[in-house]
């Protein structure tokens, strides 16, 4: 079948370890921690002096040739003590971290993965344990068991485990609910297999983050306990008791504080930075929900390429309305930053909307409908820009206009309703308050009048009990109700043009019909012009008298909706209509268009549809196809539109079926 692009590259999310190691900060931290471990392990061989060898002739010297980091109050070599002292400190931290790893992460993964009674007991135990004060308990334990620092650190690990376990349980639960885990279960894979192969690799990141952040804390607590006199007894060095010794003589040799303080501080910092790096790496790697990576092809900056060919002199499709258009987009080209640099995603779009007219913009996902809508509002994502063309709204040119001009139009004269009402409504402010705020911003008036107007607007969009709904937050409303509220919000500024971007796509069939009826009603009552963006032909045919069809960034066809549906003048429109289920007898093959939509950086210089078109000829690929006028009121970007109604190409077109 033809759907597989020829040059699909291998794309694998880089392994966590490599992603982390690519970060210089993480690399430095790892190197530092490794150095500490090596130095303390190799202390017996590398240390210039014994850890307890005293030299009373040279006490409290600063750094020098014989003692690189100086000596302490008994003349012991600070560097050597630092190296020997690292061992107990690091071992203690490692014991604590391992305890957390085994107890905390282990319980968290088990609870998250198994669920059921284990999870309930776990949650209860966590709640209980989180109420225990860690340090106090630790001191009590030390008082009972005496100077057993390793045991104390294990206890510390257990005390800290509930917090870690809870985080890990959450991460496990999230992975367990992934569809691919359900699919693995349906595939008959055993629990242990799923845990090891699918779940653990995904929760490893959060576990490493938690444990490494905790290891830093453990180092600090360990030093603190040593400082207080717990842990290894005096002549044996630890970083903690070195700090204690240094603190006793700060007035005579303040330098002494520096070596253990800096080494310890940096170690704690390194653990923290490492944890953050793992966390960031994990965030960058979560590829589950990302759309497909663009396929590899030598990238080309489309923005700089001459767009219009010379071999086909453009025959502009005439504007039909004699009345001046409310909105007139001419030859608009939009570029957005992407993985291939600034990429043209909308190219040479011409579109007119008359006052009070409802116009459809239809096409498949990614073809540039939303970007076109956003361009009108001056709300392009990222550093996107309109690189060519003009957008004139009610006599005002918006391209290159002062941002303040566009901002003043937004909401007040041009409003937006998007697919998810959740994005346009603020979750923390009651719906009525938001609408009232907009009413006041655009039209002034008292607070009380604005509130009354908000309720009136909610009633106008047929919200039952508008007074009550006005006091609700958006999450308390059903999908259809929230979309009504979003429409009320859009109407608050009494706009002349409403851009409705897939306003009903997220709604169920019954609610969809109601919201469409509502849109039609407000459109009629208020003389509102609507640009209705949708991929759904049913919605378009029900709502719009005139329609534009987009494909791969271009308007490929336009005309009165009924005429366009009955006599498509572009092979893409014809193919799309023919591929609808219902256009073939049940279980007979549907006439699918071969191939897939090219990504913006893959657009050919000629007709964007050529690779999938049954009617394509070499002329089609030779140069950009201008918008032609096949009939009054109609536009098409197809050189061979006259062939579409004829029988000649029937055989070839039939071969198109997959």
């Amino acid at each position: 079948m033809t759907e597989l692009p020829s040059a699909v590259r291998r794309h694998r999310p880089a392994p966590m370890v490599r992603t982390v190691l690519r970060r210089p900060a993480a690399l430095v931290c790892l190197a530092y921690l490794a150095l500490l471990v090596l130095a303390s392990l190799a202390a017996p061989w590398l240390a210039p002096h014994g850890p307890t060898a005293t030299d009373l002739d040279h006490v409290l010297t600063g750094p020098g040739a014989a003692h690189p980091l100086g000596t302490d109050n008994l003349g012991r070599d600070v560097l050597s003590r630092l190296m020997y002292g690292g061992r107990p400190s690091l071992i203690d931290a490692a014991v604590a971290a391992s305890t957390v790893l085994v107890v905390g992460a282990g319980c968290g993964v088990t609870a998250g993965f198994l669920g059921g009674w284990f999870d309930r007991v776990f949650s209860w135990a966590v709640d209980v344990m989180l109420a225990i004060p860690v340090l106090v308990t630790l001191l009590v334990v030390l008082a009972v068991v005496g100077d057993h620092q390793v045991l104390a650190m294990a206890v510390l690990g257990v005390l800290v485990s509930p917090g870690v376990a809870r985080v890990v349980r959450g991460a496990t639960l999230a992975v367990r609910q992934e569809l691919y885990v359900a699919a693995a279960r349906v595939s008959g894979l055993g629990r242990r297999h799923i845990l090891v192969r699918h779940v653990l690799p995904r929760v490893a990141g959060p576990v490493v983050v938690q444990v490494s952040l905790f290891a830093g804390g453990a180092l600090m607590i360990d030093a603190g306990l040593s400082y207080l006199g717990f842990g290894a007894d005096p002549p044996t060095p630890t970083w903690g008791n070195m700090i204690a010794d240094a603190a006793a003589v700060t007035d005579r040799q303040p330098w002494l504080l520096a070596p253990p303080g800096v080494v310890l501080g940096l170690a704690i910092l390194a653990c923290g930075v490492l944890g953050d790096a793992v966390r960031d790496a994990g965030a960058g790697r979560s590829t589950t929900a990302t759309p497909p990576a663009p396929r590899s092809r030598p990238s080309r900056s489309r923005a700089s390429r001459p767009r219009k060919g010379t071999s086909h002199p453009p025959v502009p499709a005439s504007r039909t309305d004699s009345s001046p258009a409310l909105l007139s987009i001419h030859d608009a080209t939009v570029a957005l930053p992407g993985p291939h640099g600034m990429t043209t995603v909308v190219e040479g779009v011409d579109l007119d909307i008359g006052p009070g007219e409802t116009v459809g913009l239809v096409g498949e996902s990614g073809c540039g409908k939303s970007v076109t809508g956003r361009a009108i509002l001056g709300l392009l994502p990222g550093r996107g820009e309109i690189t060519e063309g003009s957008i004139v709204f009610d006599g005002t040119e918006l391209v290159g206009a002062d941002p303040r001009t566009v901002r003043a139009l937004r909401g007040r004269r041009i409003a937006l309703v998007s697919q998810t009402p959740l994005t346009s409504l603020d979750p923390v402010i009651p719906v009525g308050g938001q609408i009232a705020e907009l009413v006041r911003r655009h039209h002034g008036g008292t607070r009380r009048a604005a509130r009354a107007r908000a309720v009136e607007l909610l009633r106008a969009v047929r919200v039952a009990e508008p007074e009550h709904v006005a006091t609700c937050h958006v999450h308390e409303l059903s999908g259809g109700m929230a979309q009504r509220a979003a429409i009320a919000l859009a109407l608050a500024g009494e706009p002349d043009l409403l851009i409705a971007d897939e306003p009903t796509t997220a709604l169920d069939a019954g609610v969809r019909a109601e919201v469409l009826d509502l849109l039609r009603q407000v459109q009629r009552e208020r003389g509102l012009a609507v640009l209705l963006i949708s991929h759904d032909w049913k919605v378009i045919s029900r709502m719009c008298r005139r329609t534009y069809v987009m494909y791969a960034g271009q308007v490929v066809e336009s005309g009165p909706t009924a005429d366009l549906l009955a006599h498509p003048r572009h092979p893409y429109t014809a193919g799309l209509l023919a591929s609808a289920p219902g256009r073939a007898a049940p279980r007979e093959p549907l006439r699918a268009i071969p191939g897939t939509v090219p990504a913006p950086h893959e657009w050919p210089p000629g007709c964007h549809f050529a690779a999938r078109c049954a009617l394509a000829t070499p002329a089609c690929a030779a140069a950009a196809v201008p918008l032609l006028e096949p009939a009054p009121d109609r536009g098409t970007r197809c050189l061979r539109h006259t062939e579409l109604g004829k029988g000649d190409d029937r055989d070839r077109a039939t071969a198109v079926r997959s």
Binding site: E3, R185, S187, K538, P586, G647, D649
Partner: protein, 291 residues
């Protein structure tokens, strides 16, 4: 074809139109339409944490009875929240039914699989498989297609490496992909291709039944056509049965032999897909038709 959706122009069906549809061909009856494969009897499922919930549980599925023959497609039509997916999950053993029975008619014996223990469930995987709606969430992003597809073969069939690789490449070919797709990661594929891969995964174990939970709802119209064609073709060559869950009346009309309409967890109407989608008798089904 008995009725055209309102937006489809009559005239586009002109003979000369390059994309004009075939003239209506009588639907082929399903193979062995009489041989039962799966029965769902009075099934009820409730969600909610036992013991903790303050609210009385409203069942997501409430006393649903369905039957499915070998090689047949049963459509489940309904709006979101009507309980379609829950029925599919109960059959797959992904949720525990509160009441009712699910009986699987295997080649050898009939078996109540309502509460099949995990070991038995794993063996049922050979017979019952799934294709989910979300082409992005249903494949593990960090494993190659080959790893994902061969996993069940190693575990449930104890295939050797070579046997599994051969079977995986067979399934990939069945769904119109080349065998080298096995070495790539999901990120290298578009939504339509991922749905093909999900179908290939369902096919590796040569199941009798595939639960298709809105398999084309996240896809564009033209991509949907490819995937629907593929599913129908596979049924005709392999004789696999589908429980086909969708909210789209046109899709159900196209793929299903019989269909049931769900609302609020209960079946409001059941019948041949053709009758149900053209001459519905229940008022609710009628509102779906005109929506």
């Amino acid at each position: 074809m008995t009725e055209r959706p309102p937006y489809v122009p009559e005239t586009a069906a002109d003979e000369g139109h390059p994309y004009a549809p075939d003239t209506a061909v009588a639907a082929r009856p399903p193979t062995d339409a009489t041989e039962p494969l799966l029965e769902v009897q009075e099934l009820s499922v409730s969600y909610g944490r036992r013991g903790r919930s303050r609210h009385p549980l409203r069942p997501a599925v409430d006393g649903v009875t369905l039957r499915l023959s070998r090689g047949e497609t049963l459509g489940l039509l309904g709006e979101s929240g009507s309980g379609k997916s829950t029925i599919g999950k109960a059959i797959l053993g992904l949720v525990r039914p509160a009441a009712g029975r699910i009986v699987f008619h295997g080649a050898v014996q009939d078996e109540d699989i309502t509460h099949a223990p995990p070991a038995r469930r794993r063996r049922l995987a050979r017979h019952i498989q799934v294709v989910f709606q979300d082409p992005y969430g249903s494949l593990n992003p960090s494993r190659t297609i080959g790893q994902t597809l061969s996993e069940p073969l190693h575990i449930t069939r104890r295939h050797t490496r070579g046997q599994a690789a051969a079977r995986v490449s067979d399934s990939l070919n069945l769904v119109g992909l080349t065998a080298d797709a096995a070495e790539r990661y999901p990120a290298a594929f578009s939504g339509g291709q991922r749905q093909r891969i999900a179908i290939a995964r369902a096919l590796v174990l040569e199941p009798d039944l595939i639960v298709c939970d809105e398999p084309t709802s996240a896809l564009d119209l033209s991509v949907q056509a490819h995937v629907l064609n593929l599913l129908v073709e596979l049924q005709q060559t392999l004789g696999v049965a589908y429980l086909f869950i969708s909210h789209d009346l046109d899709v159900i009309r196209h793929v299903a032999h019989r269909a049931a309409v769900l609302r609020g967890g209960t079946v409001v109407e059941e019948g041949t897909a053709d009758r149900l989608t053209t001459r519905p008798s229940h008022p609710y089904t009628r509102t779906l038709l005109t929506a």
